[in-house]
């Protein structure tokens, strides 16, 4: 705003200190998670082992998606030359910089799931593509040019590898900007972001077709990629919101105020509606045309063991943000935002649960030590890695060209 200067006394070199309870609890959570996963994998019952794999895939995918959403957030801010987010950009940057770790974990889960036949057995089993085999499945055979083990793994490596390279580059350029100043890093980030968004936009649907949709390989939906993207983006925004509020409650990030929170709230609200829109678009097309090979997906989810969860997912992910965040004040208050963000994270866990379980464990689904333990473990790992990353760098990108504008952001 011209020469209308605002005087502030923020310490942009301030660093988050990752120690004490936060660190201890995240490590305990990882241990709890490892114990639950070991308990599940070492079980003598095949169903329990498979259930553990399904949960590992769920949380591994969720973890990777949230980190990828961090990279997407950074890229989006650069490409749109957004100013409001400059003060909190270190949070999505930290999420983006652990994307390589998340990717490796997901790759290991997918790889082990494929080789042990605990995941993706709808298309990865003996004789499915062999016309002379009694197991021959014409539908799967028809898709095998795309849906085969080497192809699957190569795509996973290329997609997640590409996202990871861009993600860590965004973070690195910003850390470099802290030291060197100038516009070189920003301009470079702008260009890379534009390239990244095009790649990301075209490949994430294929990535979700591979990772999640192929669990039920006979079924397909062209809406599935966007539906997954919506879930990824809402949960990513929710995680950013939770970390920002947690940092503020711990006395950091004083320059982030209710105006920035309001913007995060709008994104959470808007993209929850978008999630519902895509979810419903997928549903109504299948419901309307009523083709058996398409309706099978929803029939499975309307079996008694899934139906209540199926509806609960819609209520949590649509009705809850709609009613709780429609009010302006609700988007500007830390506690209401924190509550909705946590509700949405649980809601999208359930969303992924509904996507994954009917294609893996089918009627042997459960909700117990394995589900809760695996989730706790991954949350602990995420908190540990992200907060550790955040503690390594100043909390503000002090040479970000739009930082001053972000401080004066007002809506």
């Amino acid at each position: 705003m011209g020469n209308h200067s605002h005087h502030h006394s923020y310490n942009f070199d301030e660093r988050f200190e990752f120690a004490g309870k936060a660190k201890m609890f995240s490590i305990i959570a990882v241990v709890v998670g490892l114990a639950a996963i070991a308990f599940g994998l070492l079980s003598s019952e095949h169903v329990i082992v498979e259930r553990t794999y399904a949960n590992l895939l769920l949380m591994g995918y969720y973890f990777t998606c949230v980190c990828a959403a961090g990279a997407f957030f950074c890229a989006l801010q650069f490409v749109t030359q957004s100013a409001w987010s400059a003060g909190l950009i270190r949070v999505p940057q930290a999420m983006a910089s652990i994307l390589p770790i998340a990717s490796v974990i997901l790759l290991v889960i997918c790889g082990l799931g494929l080789t042990t036949h605990n995941l993706y057995h709808h298309w990865n089993a003996d004789g499915l593509t062999d016309p002379n085999s009694p197991n021959y499945d014409a539908l799967v055979a028809g898709k095998s040019a795309f849906l085969n083990v080497p192809g699957f793994l190569i795509r996973q490596v290329i997609f997640m590898g590409t996202y990871s390279i861009f993600a860590i580059t965004f973070a690195k350029l910003s850390y470099k900007e802290d030291l060197e100043g100038g516009l070189t890093s920003y301009k470079k980030s702008f260009k890379l972001s534009a390239i990244f968004l095009v790649i990301f936009g075209f490949t994430t649907p294929i990535w979700s077709f591979d990772t999640i949709m192929s669990l039920e390989a006979h079924w397909f939906s062209t809406m599935f990629g966007w539906y997954n993207f919506a879930a990824m983006w809402v949960s990513g925004i929710s995680v950013i919101t939770i970390i920002v509020i947690a940092l503020k409650k711990a006395g950091y990030l004083n320059w982030v105020n209710e105006n920035h929170l309001h913007d995060l709230g709008k994104l959470m609200f808007g993209f929850s509606i978008f999630w519902t829109y895509v979810w419903f678009a997928q549903f109504i097309l299948i419901w309307y045309s009523n083709i058996p090979e398409e309706t099978v997906y929803f029939y499975k989810r309307w079996e008694p063991e899934y139906k209540p969860w199926f509806w609960l997912s819609i209520i949590i992910n649509f009705v809850a943000p709609l009613l709780l965040l429609v009010d302006r004040d609700a988007k500007r208050k830390q506690n209401s935002m924190l509550f909705v963000a946590i509700v949405l994270l649980c809601g999208h866990w359930l969303d992924y649960y509904i996507m994954i379980m009917p294609g893996t464990v089918e009627s042997h689904r459960g909700f117990g030590i394995i589900e809760i333990g695996t989730a706790i473990g991954f949350v602990g790992l995420f908190v540990f890695l992200v907060m550790n990353k955040i503690s390594k760098h100043p909390l503000a990108a002090k040479n970000h060209p739009f930082l001053d504008e972000s401080l004066n952001h007002q809506i």
Partner: protein, 178 residues
């Protein structure tokens, strides 16, 4: 007693106008309104303008749209002329969602525009009410009610001190386009 109804301080720079508001408020001079060619961040809070009530209108029109859309579908698809479409029941809720949704958005958007026009006297054919023509172009104007604030010399001094390029004493509230 002069016939002056409103004193208008005309600024060429928004920051100077903001400083002018501060100066006037420090001297307990109430400001009638400000007119600017573009939105100025923080001016509503400074002037104590109450938040817009447009969202209430939006909700009302949206609810009306939902009812209208749903009623239209119910009347045409269920009551008046039920048709067999793919063997589905006439009153099939998923069918109703897209149209109800779209009519909600449509009525909500049109209603908001109409409300906005009504409140701002912008209906086609209505004479626009403008206190200073250049406030729609390149000037940032503070309007002060001259009857409520009688020390005109003080106001004049404060406005000029803040950087006003022109101070007008208007006998009429609105300028005409003639």
């Amino acid at each position: 007693m002069s016939n002056t109804k409103y004193i208008l301080g005309s600024f060429a720079d928004p920051d100077e106008m903001m400083a002018g508001i501060d100066k006037l408020q420090k001297n307990n001079i109430s400001i009638y309104d400000c007119f600017t060619p573009m939105p100025i961040h923080g001016i509503e809070a400074k002037l104590g303008v109450a938040p817009s009530r447009l969202p209430y209108a939006a909700f009302g029109f949206g609810a009306l749209g939902t009812v209208l859309g749903f009623s239209l579908l119910y009347y045409t698809m269920v009551h008046d002329w039920p048709m067999n479409i793919g063997g589905k029941p006439s009153f099939a809720i998923p069918n109703f969602v897209p149209v109800t949704f779209e009519v909600t958005i449509l009525i909500c958007a049109l209603g908001m525009v109409a409300t906005f026009f009504y409140r701002n006297h912008l209906f086609p054919g209505r004479t626009p009410r403008v206190m200073d023509l250049r406030a729609t172009d390149d000037r940032f104007v503070i309007a002060i009610d001259a009857k409520e604030n009688t020390d005109h010399a003080l106001i004049d001094g404060l406005l000029k001190e803040a950087g006003a390029v022109e101070v007008k004493y208007n006998d009429r509230k609105y300028v005409s386009y003639e």
